[in-house]
Symmetry: C2
Subunit: 586 residues, 2 copies
């Protein structure tokens, strides 16, 4: 038996007991003949004490030779502390050490194992096993574990059954790029790793499983951005004999349960917003509704006054930043620079201050009268002290840019508190989106999403206007989940593939098994999937999903700790019937 207690366990009630603790040396303090050691494990920190006056000389010496992160076993008696530490649960006691055994020494870690560390990103990733020792990182994974558990508790309580679907499946051309796995036994053929268990969960509905879920790894071979990982975790759910309303209610209950159990936060009924409204009012299908600052379209007020930029614009649209009238020239210049960044793409920014006396002063005063500007202020409901910000140009691009500016202003004005949570449903997404480059439609959600029956008549005349039975759950500007009611009729599914540019043969080769299944008694069904990594980071108050993944990959898809990927042997290549080709030189 290595230990009798953990380092987070001892209290005043244990005073007098002989105990054995194990853990890592967090810190040593040597002062006036006294030596204190903070001993750390997953459960907490307990102070060990040694006193030249009573401790054997050899033990004193041994203890003084310990280094940071040594793994030790300490035996001793629990005593009450002279100066208590009310910051830690074990702060009332300490261990008067009678014996120390070094279980494993440690080299000096390459960075500080403290809440605030001096290690850079790269170094911490290379030594991820040391970074994971730091309390904030450990807490992230503990949060993730709790969220997993509460997810299962909720769904299990509703009779959902967790079914594992296969990881070695078939590559499909639709959607993102697949990771593939060459087959040794089936020469010339490949498995693909699933981007989601979509078709399998639909087949489980055809099988009558009625309510399915799975917390499952998914894979996408895409160029990585800060918040993307080649492998990620999804909470994947599907239900039979449901309409959209049933799914929304079930998973509204889910998110309320998670917030209540994990964060002790009470969530009100989720508002619902159509995709059209979200785009009109926020310029985004994932609006951050922690704050208002909704878009107000100004075309009728600003046109034909001689200001060419507005006259030529498809859309002139503004927001009102409360209390920002005091912004300095420098701050306004920052905003102008912000909107002109290539990734935002606006050509300029018009602003107007509402003064304390109610008068309005704008950057385009030579084109607009004080009365004109007053109308703007009225339209935007701007009060004295507020700042009006206006962008103009092509409608889609301008909305997108103003969305970014709105979020920037929200951040600057402190309206995006990480401890405030504002979830909502965005509904009525378009079924299709037009791909200019490929000159064809893509499925906005995926090819299995059902069109709204009342829009089906547009299928020949104006397919782009068809709305889908699709919905996203959005929290604080982050899309945490999305889903749809599915097609369960072979004919409609064929039509959908044809709309997406599949030939009959392609559709049959790729998804024949699913369309066949629809002919043997498929129930109406629908579902949703949540991005679990993102949900964890949102609950944890971080922008980076990497902080919530035990062993993440970097932006080149590398695990720098184990150094993967890596070359494999010629013998392995031979067995898999493959050759390398076109390798970049060097």
């Amino acid at each position: 038996m290595f230990r009798t207690h953990t380092c987070g366990e001892l209290r005043l009630a244990n005073v007098g007991e002989e105990v054995i603790l194990t853990g890592w040396v967090q810190r040593l303090r040597d002062k006036g003949g006294m030596l204190w050691i903070d001993l750390r494990d997953r459960y907490g920190i307990t102070q060990l004490s040694l006193d030249e006056g009573i401790t054997a000389t050899e033990l004193m010496q041994q203890a003084r030779s310990l280094g940071r992160e040594f793994v030790i076993q300490a035996t001793g008696k629990v005593i009450e502390r002279h100066s208590k530490n009310d910051k830690i649960p074990t702060g009332d006691i300490e261990l008067q050490v009678t014996k120390i055994e070094v279980l494993n020494p440690a080299k000096l870690p390459p960075f500080l194992i403290e809440d605030e560390t001096d290690g850079g990103d790269d170094l911490r990733m290379r030594y991820r096993y040391l970074d994971l020792r730091r309390t904030p990182v450990r807490r992230n994974l503990e949060l993730r574990h709790r969220m997993m558990r509460e997810t299962r508790n909720y769904l299990d309580g509703l009779n959902f059954i967790e079914v594992e679907t296969p990881y070695l499946i078939k590559s499909t051309p639709e959607g993102a790029r697949d990771f593939v796995v060459p087959s040794r036994m089936n020469a010339g053929e490949f498995y693909a790793l699933p981007q989601s268990p979509q078709t399998f969960k639909q087949l489980l509905m055809v099988s009558g499983f009625d309510k399915y879920f799975q917390i499952v790894k998914c894979f996408r071979d895409e160029d990585l951005r800060a918040d993307r990982q080649p492998e990620f975790t999804q909470i994947d759910c599907e239900m039979s004999f449901v309409q959209q309303e049933d799914i929304l209610n079930t998973f509204e209950g889910f998110i309320k349960h998670l917030f209540a159990q994990v964060k002790d936060v009470n969530i009100e009924k989720l508002p619902r917003m159509t995709y059209a409204d979200a785009m009109r009012l926020y310029g985004s299908d994932k609006p951050d509704t922690r704050f208002g600052m909704q878009f107000v379209e100004l075309n009728p007020l600003v046109k034909n006054k001689g200001f060419k930029v507005f006259d030529d614009a498809e859309l002139v649209v503004g927001i009102c930043a409360e209390g920002a009238a005091s912004y300095t020239r420098k701050q306004l210049d920052e905003l102008i620079d912000f909107v002109k960044r290539p990734q935002i793409g606006a050509t300029g920014l018009v602003y107007a201050r509402v003064n304390e006396d109610g008068s309005v002063k704008s950057s385009v005063d030579k084109f607009y009268s004080p009365e004109d500007l007053q109308e703007w202020a009225n339209a935007l409901n701007a009060k004295p002290g507020d700042l009006i910000l206006i962008l103009a140009g092509g409608a889609d691009k301008t909305r997108k840019a103003l969305n970014e500016l709105r979020l920037e202003m929200g951040t600057r004005l402190g309206l995006r508190d990480k401890n405030v949570f504002s979830p909502l449903w965005v509904v009525d997404f378009p079924l299709l989106e037009w791909d200019e480059e490929a000159q064809r439609y893509h499925a906005m959600h995926h090819p299995f999403t059902s069109p709204k029956p009342e829009d089906l008549h547009l299928i020949e005349s104006n397919p782009g206007a068809i709305r889908a039975n699709a919905y996203d759950m959005v929290i604080n500007g982050v899309e945490v989940g999305g889903g749809s009611i599915r097609i369960y009729d072979r004919t409609l599914q064929s039509q959908m593939f044809s709309l997406l540019g599949f030939t009959k043969e392609e559709a049959e080769a790729q998804f024949g098994f699913l369309m066949n299944a629809f002919e043997y008694g498929a129930p109406p069904h629908g579902g949703i999937a949540f991005g679990f990594d993102r949900l964890c980071s949102l609950f944890g108050g971080s922008d980076s999903i990497r902080d919530y993944i035990a062993f993440p990959k970097n932006n080149s898809g590398r695990d720098v700790m184990i150094d993967a990927p890596a070359p494999i042997s010629e013998a392995q290549l031979d067995e898999l019937h493959i050759n390398m080709k076109n390798l970049p030189k060097g």
Copy 2:
């Protein structure tokens, strides 16, 4: 709202209620102007009734046109049945139907969707989504779900934290063959899919996570046997600051919890048997201890009596089959044929009957006196009516063959009841096994298993005799789990790799990250992994793990339902920098 109740829910207390049910048409009976439909969903079966006397003619006609497996919505009133069916929970009532809506028609299924089906294996795999509709198959997956839940409940209750480890890792030459994934972003390099999260869970111990578990998919590209799948699920566990005793106690508790919660079976304290004893008494490291029939070595009793087969044999060993003395010549011939099969490999079988009068009659009477045979009977504790079966030859091969014969006799004598569970620990496995072909040692468990400290002195002189801190949990002759106390010292780990024939450079390239981690404060640790598919099949009373996997692959590693693996496009190959080569013709 598609339904007000499920098909497993209605009782006498609901009589008089207007309800809506949805489900699949299981069966129609049309007799004397009455029509009954069994409507099925995941939750049960409810009888619908229509009566020419009171049901509208159109509805009667519509109902008569329904086929098996049609998905329908039925509205009606709950009434008490005339002739109750006490075999199903809803058997007291039926639904007097007033409206039927066909939600989806169904083609005639290619096999019967009944508990006993007429579909062959191949057909049922091709239409797995229909096979999953059958109650026994659905129950298997429900059992699996319950076992997953209870696994998590138990481990969670002991403060284990579930951590997801990566699926895209690095290929290692040790152990079975890896599935690999070519990297697009890192040309010429490959990820490997994990055979187990072994190194990651050890790193989590170095990180101080203390108690880890994960229910996780693992992958092995091996030629498949009946009970192997290329992807399989493991309950993977690791603990810090533990000795073997702590792990055995923790997971003895686990299996007891599972049996109690899932099967309502009370398991006694698990016996422990050394590997040496298991081989000596059962000829197997996974003995089926539901029955005795232990091996008795007979060398001293049988040698030097002129019977060359025994005189030349390294080992003569027998078992006593209780009550089998009445075996006919034909039955004995079957046993002789059995042991002579190539996969068993014995050259012959000696038998001896103990007659009712206590005399012994053997197949080698001309070499042995009645007194000799009496001695055999005494040694084997054979009573009147018993049959003694003896094999002879090289020790290892003979033990292996007698193990098979013992299991065969256990089956024939009805001693292997699927509802009896006999778990035990097999301990003290050898650290290494000699590979004749490669002329080098392999790790019997894996290279991270620690040797017993008291055997370490053999490391130069006789490494094959070193015992490991390794243990297997065996139930009914099936190895359901195995694990070990790990090496946590860099030097010892290096020595181990060198014993296994790694050069220093190879060890560093493959496992440098782990050996480095051991230098930064690694705690003593150990763990265990359970084969979850096999555990489910054992609990479910089946020999085939496939019955407990939603979408299994066949013996060629194919998913015949979705037809994977499959060729990928030239464009995909190009992006991955690979060419196919040496493809078999045709």
